[in-house]
């Protein structure tokens, strides 16, 4: 905010960034990461087209795009939203509550998976069938 401190409650202001180099660097970085993600997406597409898709490989690729997306999110928030330039305590008041997502994602995906198991085993009465293809069970879901 430099000499134009936006309000008097701010006692210290960062000198403004001189150039736009950093912005453009992050722009290209985001573009490159997106292109990599698209490449992985197409790789998953081609694996699925094959006769016997390798599920471990697909899962690995999916994990990789998740990590790349988190990297993109970090750069958007830190550089474009300038959160990285704020006082550390302020950053923490935002980042620490977001840690709730760790539990949120884990618990609910686990729950979804548990529902699938219950559905496929008729609540434990049948032995589990791992993958059901061309089964009318799918239609039962559709009616829900």
């Amino acid at each position: 905010m430099s000499e134009h401190a936006s309000s008097p409650e701010i006692t210290f202001a960062h000198p403004p960034a001189e150039g736009t180099k950093r912005i453009w660097r992050v722009f290209w970085l985001l573009c490159v990461v997106t292109v990599i993600e698209l490449g992985i997406g197409l790789a998953i597409y081609n694996i699925h087209k094959g006769a016997d898709p390798n599920h471990t490989l697909v899962l690995m690729f999916k994990g990789m795009v998740c990590i790349l997306s988190l990297a993109k999110a970090y750069y958007i928030v830190s550089v474009f939203m300038h959160l990285g330039d704020e006082i550390r305590n302020f950053i923490m008041t935002i980042v620490v509550p977001l840690c709730l997502f760790l539990w949120f994602i884990g618990a609910f995906l686990w729950d979804g998976d548990s529902w699938k198991k219950l559905r496929n085993t008729n609540a434990g009465r049948h032995p589990a069938k791992t993958e059901q293809h061309h089964q009318p069970a799918v239609d039962k879901d559709a009616k829900k």
Binding site: P8, T11, C66, M81, L83, N89, F90, I105, D111
Partner: protein, 292 residues
């Protein structure tokens, strides 16, 4: 609105001074966005829970494989990557507008705000096309009663279930009523003369349908797909729309010289925070709906 003659002991935020050395507006905008992140997060996690709980889910490469002007060519991920790049680019023009604001360069802010608004409108246009394409799409699906029908992707219909093998299609065609057979034949011809088809007998239609190389039939999939897709991309699109409205207001205020009078361009920064958040959410919508 000038900042002159403020007594040194003014109680900012009633606590003596801004605890984070940032203005109230910016801090609260970031807190609002954090709460909005939880809203989007909850939607996406709920989508994930349902997706984990069923045995099959629509393959995004199959659902989103069209590009305007390319007819029925199979182009997975192409259109949505265009949308992603549009949004990244409009995020950059926004951050450049903020940068010009720091330098008190009104012309520069105006220019970059216009570019950002155009980017937002382009994204909304893309989304409108995509929705229209899905809602008016014609896909041959096997319904729960075992007959075939031509259906679009809506919140009540998901034609993207598991693949129906060829033998099963033959059996299903026998239990499909005549008007549906004519519709399926017309879809496979990509339009064609519906009247001529309706005049044909069921047996003729069935052999014509089975001879078509484009005949792909899926079961109907979990109905939740359409609801989650239209609900979440719609909620995101609504954010983009309100972001465009905010940006237009900011552009108008810049042009009228309001921020020059005020002595700073902090409002552009706050609008920018919202706009970047829209881009941030798209990263995860893109991930959850199109990539994995």
């Amino acid at each position: 609105m000038s900042t002159t003659a403020i007594p040194t002991n003014t109680k900012w935020w009633n606590g003596g001074r801004s605890p984070f050395n940032a203005s109230y507006g910016k801090v609260m905008m970031l807190y609002f966005l954090m709460s909005d992140a939880f809203t989007f997060g909850a939607f996406l996690i709920s989508y994930g829970t349902i997706r984990f709980s069923v045995n099959s889910w629509a393959d995004p490469n199959q659902v989103f494989n069209s590009f305007p002007g390319f007819g029925h060519q199979n182009l997975p991920l192409a259109f949505v990557s265009l949308m992603t790049f549009i949004l990244i680019f409009s995020s950059v023009t926004m951050v450049l507008a903020v940068h010009e604001g720091h330098k008190m360069n009104r012309k520069g802010v105006e220019k970059y705000m216009i570019l950002t608004i155009l980017g937002g409108l382009a994204f909304l246009g893309c989304q409108a096309w995509e929705w229209t394409h899905l809602l008016t799409g014609e896909h041959i699906a096997m319904l729960n009663d075992g007959s075939l029908s031509v259906v679009p992707t809506t919140v009540k219909m998901n034609p993207w279930g598991t693949h129906v093998p060829h033998e099963a299609i033959a059996a299903a065609l026998q239990s499909t009523p005549h008007d549906k057979l004519a519709e399926i034949a017309a879809t496979l011809q990509h339009g064609g003369a519906a009247h001529d088809l309706a005049a044909k007998s069921s047996a003729e239609l069935i052999s014509a349908i089975q001879a078509s190389p484009d005949l792909h039939v899926n079961h109907t999939g979990p109905i939740a797909f359409g609801g989650y897709f239209f609900g979440i991309t719609g909620f995101h699109g609504f954010h983009v729309f309100s972001g465009v409205v905010i940006n237009v207001v900011m552009w108008a205020k810049t042009r009228l010289g309001h921020f020059d009078e005020r002595g700073h361009y902090e409002m552009i920064e706050k609008a920018g925070l919202y706009w970047h958040f829209v881009d941030l959410v798209w990263v995860f919508v893109f991930l959850c709906f199109y990539l994995i």
